[in-house]
Structure formats: structure tokens, C-alpha cells
């Protein structure tokens, strides 16, 4: 039986972690993810979990400890944001290349500088090519559900890769929402035991993790890693299907909102999708065929599926909550544009950078975006592909 509660995004993550009962958490506090290890360490102190909590001296050490414990055969987790993730940089790549299915609960926050503690996606988007699975959430319910599904995806024999469960700093991490929680037993059974085929603490088969690979092997190692990430797409769908059986809540690679007959679409990641849904509802009442695609799985990227979902739209806005400093496109803009080009899509695409450093995104802002899309469709051309929304000119 499900339980109803009111939790912030960080509380929801801590609650999911309590239910998952991982073997090890190693973490260092950083706003806005601090509460996750704070709440979890309380559960450790209260004996509500069997986990070992490692209070480390930096995020570099947090990720290193997670890699070490995961390699030892322990299901491991950490939490961080922004600069904390930046300090994990080398280890992010190591966790992926060593094929260790650990979990990072990321609370998205702008990277310095100027220093800022509010939401944008520059931290996780910077790490988008680190080899991790990345799943994003619109609200607290989703981040809770995504975390419950994290280990079954990451540990699947066809995947065995680390997974990043992302939510928007403050917007969901600190906002309290109604939430439906699973029973402890349901989560425990769904996640199951972690039994890696090989691990450092196996006395029957000593294992060396992370050995040097000369040129003769490195490329093959990366190719195998890429194949595993590719497999994560189907596994994510399969796990979501199993999860729906116990919760009734269904998840795909992305969510399509009013896309069936949409002529104007927005592709967006995270909490601003909720705001966009309200804009879609308002525009629909006025007869505008607006629709939304909300990315859930960003790595691996479901390009073909998104191009298919966009095949009938006249104009689409690709919304990046990060600046890519390339004068060409943002990460989401690049991925979706490539997918549209490959599919010979007729949709006119425009790529917006928005919401940096916690800049508020209102329903009226998203209505403005749809109005711009209608203008683009009428004129039949996009003057400027890469542009900014909500910045003072």
C-alpha cells in the first residue's frame, strides 16, 4: 500500500535512500544537496539503515570512496551539487570506465562563477559525456521514483554503469510537495540485493580494478562502455515497466504532453516542464496547438524517439538551462537538432538558453516562447538559432 506524505525533494531522496538501504554513503555537504547526507546520516545514527556513512573531506574523496566501496562489492551512493560535482570530475569518468553501478543524487546548481547557489543545469550538463546514465526529474514525486529505479537500471547485467539522478536545486529540492511513497518492503524487493559477479572483497577470485590499458586495449574498453550505455535505454524502459506494476506510475524515456496533434513544441528538462505544461494548457484553451516534450533520460539520449515525436510539429524550441560557450548550440539543442537532421524532420528549430543561476521561469515566459514559435512557423524561417530568453539586453 502506498503512503501519502508531504516532502521536499531532498527529503524524498533521503526517504528513498532509507528504503533502498545502500551499503555505503560517502558525501560532503554543498548547497543545495546538503540535506540529503544530513538526513541520511540521521537515519544511520538512528539505526534505521545498515549503511556505513563516510564523512569525507571533499567531493573528490566522496566519489573516490564511492568508487572504492562499489568496487569492493558494496552498493554505494553520494550526493552533491555544482562545484562539488566539478571536484569529482576525474572520478566520474573512473566510476563509468570501471563499470561501477554506483549512484549520485545530484541537486542541480549553477557552476561558478560568478558564484551562485541556485538552479541551472551547468553542473550535470558539463558531465554529460562522462559515461554516466543521467535521469532528470520535474518534481519531487519523480525524483523519488527515479531514485527507486536507479539501481535496477545501473546494476543490470547489460549496463553496469553509474547513474545520476538529477533534480532542480531549491525549485524541487527545497519545495515541499505532496508525494506518494512506496512501502519499505516494496522498495526493498524492487531494488533487491547487489551481487556483482566480481568484486574486490571476493576471496575466491582476487580482482584488480582499473588497470592500465595500452593503446591496443583502450579503444575497445571505451567501445564496450558505449555499448553498455546504449543498452541502458531499453533497460530504463524495462525497469519503468516493472515499477509501474507496483506503483501504477508510468515513466518513459521522455514525457509527451499534448503532443499528439501539436504544431508548436517545447523540449525541456527539469522543473520548468511543469511551468510549461501550464502554458500549454492556457494556449490550448485559446486553440493554439501547443505541446511539450520533457526529457527524462538524457544519457543515453533517445534521439530517434524524440525526432519521431516531433515529426509533425511546425516549430520547436529546445530549452537549455546551461550556457555551452560555443556560439552554436546548447547540449539539448545539439542533441535534438542532430536527431531532427537525421530524421529529415521539417520542424523549424530554435535553441534557447534560459533560467541560468536560478532565474525564474514563469508561465508567461513559456507562453512567450510558444508565441515566438508561431511567428517562426508563419515566417517559415529561423533568423537566429542560438538565443537567450529572460536576460536583460
Amino acid at each position: 500500500m502506498a503512503r501519502k506524505d508531504r516532502l521536499s525533494g531532498n527529503e524524498a531522496v533521503a526517504e528513498a535512500l532509507r528504503q533502498i538501504n545502500p551499503d555505503v554513503m560517502a558525501a560532503f555537504p554543498i548547497t543545495p544537496s546538503t540535506e540529503i547526507p544530513q538526513y541520511f546520516s540521521k537515519y544511520v545514527a538512528q539505526g534505521k539503515v545498515d549503511s556505513e556513512f563516510i564523512p569525507v573531506e571533499s567531493e573528490h574523496s566522496a566519489m573516490s570512496a564511492v568508487i572504492g566501496s562499489q568496487a569492493a562489492g558494496a552498493r554505494s551512493v553520494t550526493a552533491t551539487s555544482s562545484a562539488g560535482m566539478a571536484l569529482m570530475w576525474e572520478e566520474l569518468y573512473l566510476a563509468a570506465s570501471n563499470r561501477l553501478p554506483c549512484c549520485l543524487t545530484l541537486v542541480n546548481r549553477a557552476l561558478s562563477g560568478p558564484i551562485n547557489i541556485n538552479c541551472d543545469h551547468s553542473d550535470s550538463m558539463g558531465a554529460r559525456d562522462a559515461g554516466w546514465i543521467q535521469i532528470y526529474a520535474e518534481n519531487n514525486q519523480e525524483v523519488y521514483d527515479n531514485l527507486c529505479m536507479a539501481y535496477p537500471i545501473a546494476e543490470h547485467k547489460d549496463v553496469q554503469l553509474p547513474i545520476m539522478i538529477c533534480q532542480d536545486g531549491f525549485i524541487t529540492s527545497h519545495a515541499v510537495e505532496n508525494i506518494i511513497l512506496n512501502e519499505d518492503e516494496e522498495v526493498k524487493n524492487f531494488v533487491g540485493e547487489y551481487n556483482p559477479e566480481h568484486c574486490l572483497l571476493d576471496p575466491e577470485c582476487p580482482t584488480a580494478v582499473g588497470p592500465y590499458s595500452v593503446t591496443n586495449y583502450y579503444f575497445e574498453a571505451k567501445r564496450a562502455q558505449a555499448e553498455a550505455l546504449k543498452n541502458a535505454k531499453q533497460v530504463t524502459l524495462d525497469v519503468a515497466k516493472e515499477y509501474a506494476k507496483i506503483t501504477g506510475r508510468e515513466y518513459g524515456l521522455f514525457e509527451e504532453y499534448m503532443m499528439e496533434d501539436a504544431e508548436y513544441a517545447v523540449v525541456i528538462i527539469g522543473s520548468a516542464a511543469g511551468t510549461t505544461k501550464e502554458a500549454v494548457d492556457r494556449l490550448r484553451k485559446e486553440g493554439v496547438k501547443a505541446g511539450l516534450i520533457k526529457i527524462r533520460l538524457f544519457r543515453p539520449f533517445p534521439g530517434e524517439e524524440i525526432a519521431e515525436a516531433l515529426k509533425n510539429v511546425k516549430a520547436v524550441a529546445l530549452m537549455d538551462r546551461t550556457e555551452s560557450y560555443n556560439d552554436c548550440c546548447g547540449p539539448l539543442g545539439a542533441e535534438v537538432s542532430t536527431a531532427l537532421y537525421r530524421a529529415n524532420a521539417k520542424a523549424l528549430a530554435v535553441n534557447y538558453v534560459y533560467g541560468l543561476g536560478g532565474r525564474d521561469v514563469k508561465v508567461s515566459d513559456m507562453v512567450n516562447i510558444y508565441n515566438e514559435l508561431q511567428k517562426i512557423a508563419e515566417e517559415g524561417k529561423v533568423e537566429e538559432f542560438y538565443r537567450y530568453y529572460g536576460v536583460r539586453s
Binding site: 582476487p206 584488480a208 580494478v209 586495449y217 574498453a221
Partner: protein, 102 residues
């Protein structure tokens, strides 16, 4: 499908699908079993007529590919020779030279 726990079976002919997960090495004392000699494109070759069996090549080999057996220099262990050429430089009668293998 190769036996991935047997490092002997993991080599240059393996498809990326047959290498170990994350390139992990399973089992103990694998340095002897794993043929690092396949990394090189050149190998030292001895001219037996010039070799005076002074054994100067033995201690300088960083991969212990030249040993002493019954007081004499052993044949080179090409399974582990990485072709560094130090034995060539150290051979007093210049009996060792590098030859391409591929």
C-alpha cells in the same frame, strides 16, 4: 565467448565484447599469465655466434624476460618482452639487435 577470468584468453584478437568488464583483471599472480609481449612492434634477437654468455643482459631487463638457466642465458621470453631495447644497449659484444615483428 572467451573465459574472461583466464587472462591468457584475453588478448589482441579479442573483440571489444570479449574483454573484461571495465578491463578488470581476475585472479591472482596474473602478470605471468598475461602476455604483455604483444604490446611491442619490435623484439630483440640474439646473434648466437656473437654472444659470449657474459649475462650482462640478464639484470638490465626490466621485465625479467632474460634469466639464467644452468649458468647460461635463457632464450628471450617474447611473451613478456615489451621491446624496450635496453638489452641491446647493454650487450658488450653487440650480439643483440632489434627486429620488427609486424
Amino acid at each position: 565467448m572467451v573465459d574472461k577470468t583466464n587472462i591468457n584468453k584475453v588478448g589482441l584478437k579479442c573483440s571489444y565484447k570479449d574483454l573484461t568488464l571495465g578491463m578488470m583483471v581476475y585472479g591472482e599472480k596474473t602478470s605471468e599469465a598475461f602476455k604483455t609481449g604483444e604490446w611491442t612492434s619490435v623484439q630483440p634477437v640474439v646473434d648466437e655466434e656473437k654472444c659470449i654468455n657474459c649475462l650482462m643482459c640478464v639484470p638490465v631487463c626490466p621485465d625479467s624476460c632474460i634469466t639464467v638457466v644452468d649458468g647460461k642465458r635463457s632464450p628471450f621470453d617474447y611473451d613478456h618482452c615489451k621491446g624496450c631495447g635496453i638489452c641491446v644497449k647493454n650487450c658488450p659484444p653487440k650480439a643483440i639487435s632489434m627486429k620488427g615483428v609486424k
